[in-house]
Symmetry: C2
Subunit: 221 residues, 2 copies
C-alpha cells in the first residue's frame, strides 16, 4: 500500500514553483474545476491545454496558474475531488448497518451508479491514472483510498465469520481491483452489456470466485 494520507501532488520536478495565491477564491476554483471536468469528459487529458481551459472558464491563462501548477496538478485535484465524492456516495450507501456482504453489495451499487453517471470521466481517469505523484501512480493512490475504506469492513466481517479469513490488505485490494477493472472493461466496450448483468456478476464473483458450491445469490438481493 502506498501512503494515502497527506497532500497528493505531482511527483517533484526540477522547475521552480510558480507563485500561488495567499487567499484563493473558492468560487474561482470551482469554476476552473468544472471547466476542466467538462473538457476532460469531451477530449481527455492528453489533448487538454491550459489555454483552452482558460477560454472555457473565461479567465486568463495567468489566473489558471494561480490555482494550479499545471495540467498534472489540475488532473490530480480533479481525481481527488471525484474520489471524495465517490467515497461519500459509497459511505452513504453502506449505512454502517447489516451484514458485511449486504453492505458491500450496497457499496458496489453506489460505485456502479457513479461510474455510469461519469463514464467518460472515469475512462479518462483510467488513461491518466499512470500519472506519477509524490504518493505513487495516481490510479494506485485512488484504489488505495478505496481499499483503506473497505478494509475495516472486511476485518469486521472476518472477525464475525461472515467471510473467510484472509490477509485483509490483499483482500481489500483484490476487491477494489477486480471491480474497477470490470467497470473499465464495461466502459471500454461501450457499456453494451446491461448494468444489471455487470452488477450481478461482480456480486457473485467477489463473493464466490470460481467455486462451484454455494447458493450463489451474491450475498444480497
Amino acid at each position: 500500500m502506498t501512503a494515502v494520507s497527506g497532500e497528493i501532488k505531482p511527483a517533484p520536478r526540477k522547475r521552480p514553483q510558480r507563485r500561488r495565491l495567499q487567499n484563493p477564491n473558492p468560487a474561482m476554483r470551482v469554476r476552473l474545476m468544472e471547466a476542466a471536468a467538462e473538457l476532460l469528459r469531451r477530449q481527455g487529458l492528453g489533448q487538454l491545454r491550459i489555454e483552452e481551459l482558460a477560454r472555457e472558464a473565461n479567465v486568463s491563462v495567468g489566473t489558471v496558474y494561480l490555482y494550479f501548477d499545471g495540467k498534472d496538478d489540475l488532473f490530480i485535484q480533479l481525481v481527488k475531488e471525484f474520489t471524495e465524492r465517490l467515497r461519500q456516495r459509497m459511505s452513504d450507501a453502506d449505512g454502517g448497518e447489516g451484514p458485511a456482504l449486504e453492505r458491500l453489495s450496497r457499496r458496489l451499487a453506489a460505485y456502479l451508479d457513479f461510474v455510469e453517471d461519469n463514464m467518460d470521466g472515469f475512462l479518462h481517469f483510467r488513461k491518466g491514472g499512470a500519472l506519477d505523484t509524490n504518493l505513487g501512480p495516481l490510479e494506485l493512490w485512488a484504489l488505495d483510498v478505496h481499499a483503506d475504506d473497505v478494509r475495516p469492513l472486511l476485518e469486521e466481517a472476518i472477525a464475525a465469520g461472515e467471510i473467510a479469513p484472509a490477509d485483509p490488505g490483499l483482500l481489500s485490494q483484490a476487491l477494489v481491483g477486480v471491480i474497477q477493472h470490470i467497470a473499465a472493461h464495461w466502459g471500454e466496450t461501450g457499456a453494451r452489456q446491461p448494468r444489471e448483468e455487470i452488477e450481478h456478476f461482480l456480486r457473485v464473483y467477489t463473493t464466490f470466485g470460481l467455486n462451484p458450491a454455494g447458493d450463489r445469490t451474491g450475498g444480497a438481493a
Copy 2:
C-alpha cells in the same frame, strides 16, 4: 472486449509516416529492442529519449527511426513481445491436461514468475499502459489477450461442472484483472510481502472469493 487480432500500433496521428525498411535486419531489431528494454527498466517510458536509445544501441538516430515510428511504437512493440513471451510461459505451464483449477494454478505461478523476473519492466508497463493504440488502451489490449487465452479453459471448466456457471467473458476479465492488480500492488509496495503469500492469496481468492464456506485449499497444492 476490444479487438485483439491484427497488428497493434499507436492510434493514428496526423503526421506523415516515416520511411520504413523494405528488408529490416532482424538482428538490428533485436539489438534495438534489447537496448530499449534495458533503458525502460532503468528509467521508465516518460524519460526515454530516442537519442539515448540510439546511443545505448550504438546506432544512429536515423537507424532507430527505420525500425520504429517513435517512442510510442517502440513501447508497443516491446509490450507486444513481452506479452508473447508471457503467453508462451503460461501456455507451457498449463500443459493442457488436468482439472481446470490446477491448470489455472500453474498458469498463475508462471505469471508471478514472469512478473518477479521482470518487475521493473512490469511496473513501467503498467505506467505506460494507458497509451492509446488503434486497438484501445495498451494495457486493456494486453489484458484482453490474456483473457482470451484463458476463456476457453473457463468455458471447458464450466461445461464440466468444475467451476460455477458465469459469463465466461466477464469471468476471464475478472481473473486477469484481479491477478494483474494484486501483482502491481505487490510490486509498488517493493515486494515486501513474500511471493508465496501473494500466490496463495490469489489462488484462494480467485477460487472462493469472500465466501466463508469451502475447503479453501485454492484448488491445487
